[in-house]
């Protein structure tokens, strides 16, 4: 019986182990993601260089918009969602560039790549980390904007749209930032690569936020929300599949 030979059993157990690591999302996979997120958060908690920069930058963008658009009561109604999303997008680019540049410059990326986990776990870890940074910045910008311009932004639907938009932005942004930091022209490259590709997410998020803020009918909001969800799913799935080729040496 060939099944009972030791070599066969060993091969089978190796196959099983590989299957467990590579295919199925196991607890180990979840732990690997959590470890990468935790590493990013711990590093940020000690250095506090990323969120601080993103936050100051975001507030400056809002200030500039205030002068550029003369945000009086009537204009505010229609441009709030645009101002918010441009602010998030710009601040997000800053954070993405920094978060990947740190990995590259100090050789951390090579260390991460040497760990025996699936590469997609690293991708999800970095994406979640970037998403958390974006959400923290948004959690501070939103109440500040509400207070400064006397607009109530705390509507559950709007917060949901902001979460969905940030997911899509972080998903594409993390992938493209890990490409941009490996290029010669990396500081200028990320926004050029990112903005045209992420535009469907941004447009859908802006239109949906605007519809919610202006109190439109749900039938006016749903097409944009659907588009947003579709692009979130597509971008996460594609980025997960191709991330391997981006970090490969």
């Amino acid at each position: 019986m060939p099944e009972s030979t030791p070599a066969f059993r060993q091969a089978e157990s190796i196959h099983d182990a590989r299957d467990m690591i590579q295919r199925r999302p196991t607890p180990a996979y979840g732990r690997a993601i959590a470890a990468v997120v935790w590493k990013d958060l711990a590093a940020e908690l000690r250095s506090r260089e990323l969120i601080g920069a993103m936050l100051v930058f975001a507030l400056l963008v809002i200030l500039i918009f205030n002068f550029a658009l003369e945000l009086d009561v009537r204009t505010r109604q229609t441009v709030t969602s645009g101002v918010l999303w441009v602010t998030f997008a710009f601040a997000g680019t800053l954070g993405l560039n920094r978060s990947m540049a740190i990995e590259k410059d100090r050789g951390c990326l090579d260390g991460l790549l040497l760990t025996p986990v699936d590469r997609s776990a690293l991708y999800f870890g970095k994406t979640l980390g970037n998403l958390v940074f974006m959400l923290i910045v948004e959690a501070i910008v939103l109440p500040t904007y509400s207070a400064l311009y006397n607009v109530n932004l705390f509507r559950p639907a709007l917060l949901g749209v902001i979460l969905l938009g940030s997911i899509g932005y972080a998903a594409v942004g993390t992938l493209l930032a890990s490409m941009a930091v490996q290029a010669r022209t990396r500081d200028v490259l990320l926004p050029i690569l990112l903005f045209p590709v992420v535009l469907p997410v941004l447009v859908a998020a802006i239109k949906a936020s605007n519809a919610i803020l202006q109190g439109f009918e749900p039938s006016e909001i749903w097409p944009w929300l659907n588009l947003l969800i579709v692009y979130d799913v597509v971008f996460v799935a594609v980025a997960m599949m191709v991330f391997d080729y981006v970090v490969e040496e």
Binding site: V172, L175, L176, M179, A180, Q182, A183, R184, T185, R186, L189, I192, L193, P196, V197, L199, P200, P223, L227, Y231, V234, F235, V238, A239, V242, Y245, V246, E248
Partner: protein, 233 residues
Amino acid sequence: MEPMPRALKALTWLTTALFAVSLYMVLFYAPREAVMGDVQRVFYFHVSSGWVGALAFLVTAFAGGVYLARGERRWDRVALASVEIGIIFTFANIVSGSIWARPIWNTWWTWDPRLVTATVMELIYVAYLMLRQGIEDPDRRARFGAVYGILGFLSVPLTFLSIRIFRTIHPVVIGDNDPTAQGAFDMTPKMLQAFLFSLLTFTFLYFTLLWHRLRLQTLAERVEQLKMKVLSG
């Protein structure tokens, strides 16, 4: 230097002949549109170059996928050549649209979703070229190009969807028209023939240019190798 393959020569002449015929069909064979007049004739090449742009970017995404799966350099060459052709034709599409829009919409440009998405599509592939320029290692350049080509193509469906989702000023000649569109018309049989013929011609033009570009790239690589050989020896 090896001579041009006979099939490529034949294809080039065939495309030239097709182009001459389609010029005749567009300018003389197709009737003059009753409302818009002669400027409507822009439509034939406008749609054809838009089609070639979309086709070229589809080929890039496809070649990128094959490159990632197999790792053969020639697929990367196809992807790059196709992007270059796609950029030119998308540009022709936008410019010819502008020329048509001036008398019909009374403006060169309007911030209509269809126009904006076409322009964003163009910018994605300009970014693609800039990305490639910034990377020296040829393997990495090919891999990143493939990834960005695939990701970028995901925004092109939006270009085509946009005409259905958004309310648009841009006419849909094939299928049902949006009531807000301006400058729509119904095609007579002769117009349809001229239109289909220019689509065919432009598709041939695409493949001819692609082949020439691939050949040029292979020759350039050979020159590079010879130069290295001379310099090192």
